[in-house]
């Protein structure tokens, strides 16, 4: 059972501005997010003895947790870097922090991610590139595959074939996500989007268009965790990770299983079972949305509808602001900013604390966060709960 704990809780959240942050490097952006998160719960760096982060994708580094710890002036008793892919990294950071706190390796930990992926990347670069040995260099590049979008395009084309879906289904989630972004003052995208805008945007890799792709951005997000007893003493609002499950099935796109065998379904089932809930109990879902197709596949896999039904489900209004289970209430990677998915977790915590302003989901108690690294290579699902 992938139950996590009842003890350590999330008590603080931080988020830097997102978009273009020229002149700031990844260490500085992560430091800003850490300080913002500590301010939110009345703590300072003197209270922190655990630090967990991820090094920047746009400029990979070694020992990035120690780099950041020194920069901040920390001397933590628990310090590590986690890299398992989009949003699952953030969830795994939380899991590591919880285990470290529960086992006495530290008392108060900060989980952080941030980078200057937009202003820091090399001139002429497009989209998101991930370098990893085996896959990219030898079995993909000689065939012309580069960047994440082409892999998701292959998935989208197959999804169309398997379920009779089409670009209006992709457009439906792009539009729903934009509606949320318009309620979030920090979102990069400020203008309304129609299905027609989506259909008219240019093809990047068929069938995916520009408005199917997330926003490469600078920015950072952080969460603070401590033991429940300490949290009560501080009087901080508490959010608990009620369950977390992951499933890895492959790395490269050619090894990807058929859509209904992707790891998201198994991770979701395990996370629901461990939390003792089902999709109907959720107040919201923050679903990793590097591309629109990711959300359709995830909605199907997490049991919000029958396989292939995501487009119709979205058209009921369920995912939009005020819907039955709003999806990506911050505007997601598609319309707020792609910060490695860290802001999906920050947003879930903010909503569960009742601090989401105009976009607050009324009386939010339970949030699901999903992630997938690579091309649904490693999937993760967690259930967060207001204590």
């Amino acid at each position: 059972m992938p139950r996590v704990t009842d003890e350590a809780v999330i008590i603080g959240l931080g988020e830097t501005p997102v978009g273009k942050l020229p002149g700031l490097n990844s260490v500085q952006i992560q430091a800003m997010a850490v300080h913002d998160a500590l301010r939110s719960c009345g703590l300072s760096i003197r209270d922190v003895d655990g630090l967990i982060n991820l090094d920047p994708y746009s400029f990979p580094n070694s020992m990035f947790a120690t780099t950041l710890a020194e920069y901040l002036g920390l001397k933590p008793s628990f310090c590590t870097t986690v890299d398992v892919g989009g949003t699952v990294t953030g969830m795994t950071m939380l899991q590591q922090a919880i285990w470290a706190i529960n086992s006495g390796h530290c008392r108060t930990a900060v989980c952080v991610y941030g980078e200057n992926a937009l202003t820091g990347r090399s001139p002429g670069a497009h989209g998101y590139m991930l370098k990893n040995l085996l896959g990219g260099e030898e079995w993909e590049e000689p065939f012309g595959l580069q960047g994440m979008v082409s892999m998701y395009a292959l998935l989208a084309q197959r999804y169309f074939h398997d379920y009779g879906a089409d670009e209006s289904d992709l457009g439906a989630i792009a539009v729903s996500t934009r509606e949320h972004a318009l309620l979030n003052p920090t979102a990069m995208m400020k203008k309304p989007m129609t299905l027609e805008d989506h259909r008219r945007s240019r093809i990047i890799c068929s069938p995916l268009r520009l408005l199917d792709c997330s926003l490469v951005a600078d920015g950072g997000g952080a969460l603070v965790l401590t033991g429940a007893a300490n949290a009560r003493r501080l009087g901080a609002p508490m959010v608990r990770m009620r369950s977390f499950a992951m499933r890895m099935t492959h790395n490269t796109v050619a090894q990807m299983p058929d859509i209904e065998d992707l790891g998201m379904r198994d991770a979701g089932r395990d996370a629901y079972e461990a939390a003792g809930i089902g999709p109907e109990d959720l107040d919201m879902a923050q679903l990793h949305d590097a591309f629109t197709i990711s959300v359709l596949v995830t909605i199907d896999a997490l049991g919000f509808c029958e396989p292939g039904g995501a487009g119709d489900y979205i058209r009921t209004g369920a995912t939009a602001p005020g819907g039955k289970c709003p999806v990506n209430t911050h505007g997601g990677l598609l319309s707020q900013a792609h910060i490695g998915g860290m802001l999906h977790l920050v947003e879930a915590v903010r909503q569960l604390r009742g601090e989401a302003g105009r976009r607050q989901v009324p009386d939010a108690r339970l949030a699901l966060v999903s992630g997938n690294g690579g091309i649904f290579s490693l999937c993760g699902v967690s259930i967060l709960e207001r204590v």
Partner: protein
């Protein structure tokens, strides 16, 4: 045949026979001598049973299209504009494994999932690359 640009692989000792096979117009797969699993890409150990007893087996080079995408932007800067749009494919080989490749030849724009395809070795500089073309029967 269209003008092809490619980024050539840097084979390891283990994978060099695959790329040398391509230069002889042979598509070589790994076959496990213990469990009979046929797999691609080549690895030192069978991904099904862990065996190191592996042989090279020539593929018939025929398969069915699992998915495709027409790439509409250059991810390699202006020099690749000449390639746009080009077509990436996932091919389910009749021998078992699924393979990522590039589609060449006529009717690329009419390609659909389920089309039969066959390997076409396309030479770029020093290396023949195992691309595919549509089979019209």
């Amino acid at each position: 045949m269209e003008d092809i640009l490619a980024i050539l692989p840097s084979p390891t000792k283990e994978t060099a026979p695959f790329w040398e096979g391509c230069n002889r117009s042979e598509l070589l797969l790994r076959a496990c001598e213990d469990c009979a699993q046929v797999f691609y890409y080549p690895r030192l150990y069978c991904p099904k049973c862990g065996s190191e007893k592996l042989a090279w087996r020539a593929s018939a080079g025929r398969g069915t299209l699992y998915s495709f995408t027409h790439v509409g932007v250059s991810f390699y800067g202006p020099t690749w504009e000449s390639q746009i749009p080009y077509t990436l494919v996932l091919v389910d080989l009749d021998d078992g494994p699924r393979m990522l490749s590039r589609l060449v030849g006529p009717d690329r724009d009419k390609v659909k999932i389920g089309d039969r395809v066959r390997v076409e070795f396309v030479e770029f500089e020093t290396q023949k690359l195992p691309y595919f073309s549509i089979v019209r029967e």
